[in-house]
Amino acid sequence: MKTWNALMKKEWIEQVRTGKLMILSAIFVLFGIMNPAIAKLTPWLLKMMADSLAESGMIITDISVSALDSWVQFFKNMPIALIVFVLVEGGIFTREYQSGTLVLTLTKGLDRKMVVFTKAAILFLLWSAGYWLCFGITYGYNMYFWDNAAASHLLFSVIGWWLFGVWVIALMVLFSSVATANTGVFLGAGGGALAAYLMTIFPKLKTYSPAMLTEANALIYGKEEPAEYMTAIAVAAMTGILCIAGSLILIKKKKL
């Protein structure tokens, strides 16, 4: 437990002092505010452009926006937030391999598994805190401006997207125990996510793809039911656990 606390403390100090926490907080807060702001500003923006649109034959009538538009923005922005997250945190293992800082820690007899556990935990915590902060801000504004009840299965859809982020973190951890540089992590995690997206193109494969969890718009518009997502959730959970288990095995014999 002492070792766990020490490693977590070190990871936390690193996040704070290297400015990573700041960047991630800024991104998640910014998106949290932007989602409702864009929805709120859409009618005004269109009104501003009404004259020029009228010239090209488009006539703007009354536009009504609801919490749904804000949630659509939320799910549109989340991929960007996740990409930023991966770019900022992709070097969490490899930076230590390359600089040699991990060698000093491990030659003190530290269990290598502990390194995987703590780094995976800090990634999980940062993603979760950022994601739910962003959600909270959007939820608050939406509640103030409109009514969140407009979005059906809201909680289920946001949990689904959050789980997809956790799945990507598991990929990051797996590829971090194989790669020597962060480009390997980007390629591995990015490739994994891309493969999952490609699966969703084929109707037969779609239900098995963790990327299905990102298609939350169909849920909030009530076009699909949570039950249809259960297989994707199970696949994401299983493969995520396998990724972590795999990295625990791989790190044991990793050449440093």
Partner: protein
């Protein structure tokens, strides 16, 4: 007791065989100089002891426990200082040392005491800046402090003095000398004067094998050969002597050198007296570690 024993170690990188049946035995509480040219396999040997490299054949024991590749229990007994130690740049020196103590499960009070002790030992007390701004020498000293932190039985230092200026080198050597009381020190180097200053034992590594090993005096006595240096006042006298004794190595000036085995000293003295040659000095030379090393490597 032996703190470290290496038996018949082989390691190859691609088609380059770096270690070819290396045997080494490091006695407890010794300061063991592990000497070899650049590329002789010193770092490779040390990394295998730490389980950081997989060996092709051979056994390594630290404190009588076998070393395994990757996760190895023996690292609990070891402190390691790499040639260029790297720390978390966002931490301060006391924070880093506290981190070292915490990950090995030391008690808070003990960590505080040990941090103060070691920072004083390496001359970094009162240093509150982050490691990011540390000089190479400061990093090397912090490196020793972290390596000694959890009182290892074996301290492994990879060329700790190579990159430092004379003042920095002396500081590191002093710290290693002080560390001997509580640990065994194995340090690799190609600076022979460092070995002569602080080592109790020495091993010469060449072409992937340990050629000679033992206590410093043992090694010196095995390779002791009486060598003499003779300096005359004028070059003509020296030249005359070199003609009388062709085995004498003549440097073209006033100096002549010879081994006792090659030439009898008394015969030379007799000629000096007969010809009334004015001698500036006649000196019996102690073998230096450098001359021994060169001899071992060139054989």
């Amino acid at each position: 007791m032996e703190m470290l024993r290496i038996e018949n170690l082989y390691k190859r990188f691609g088609d380059k065989e770096v270690l070819r049946g290396l045997n080494l035995s490091v006695p407890e509480h010794s300061i063991f100089g592990f000497v070899g040219k650049n590329g002789a396999g010193k770092t490779t040997t040390m990394k295998t002891v730490l389980g950081l490299l997989n060996v092709d054949a051979g056994n390594i024991f630290v404190n009588e426990m076998p070393v395994t590749y990757g996760q190895t229990e023996t690292n609990r007994y070891v402190g390691y200082l790499p040639d260029v130690p790297e720390f978390y740049p966002f931490m301060t020196a006391p924070e880093y040392l506290a981190f070292c103590g915490e990950i090995t499960g030391m008690k808070k009070a003990e960590i505080k005491k040990r941090t103060e002790e070691l920072l004083a030992l390496v001359g970094l007390e009162g240093e509150s800046h982050r490691i990011k701004g540390f000089s190479r020498g400061m990093k090397q000293r912090l490196g020793i402090a972290q390596a000694l932190f959890n009182r290892p039985k074996l301290l492994i230092c990879d060329e700790p003095t190579s990159a430092l200026d004379p003042v920095g080198r002396k500081e590191i050597l002093d710290v290693l000398l002080a560390a001997r009381a509580e640990t065994t020190v194995l340090f690799s180097t190609h600076i022979l004067s460092d070995v002569e200053k602080i080592c109790t034992d020495v091993a010469f590594l060449d072409q992937g094998k340990v050629r000679v090993q033992g206590t410093l005096s043992e090694v010196k006595s095995v390779y002791r050969r009486e060598s003499y240096l003779l300096e005359t006042e004028s070059p003509e006298e020296a030249r005359g002597l070199s003609e009388a004794f062709p085995v004498l190595q003549y440097d073209g000036g006033c100096r002549l050198q010879f081994d006792e085995t090659a030439c009898d000293v008394s015969a030379v003295l007799r000629v000096l007296a007969d010809r009334k040659i004015s001698v500036v000095k006649l000196e019996r030379q102690e073998p230096t570690l450098e001359s021994l090393f060169m001899e071992v490597v060139e054989r």
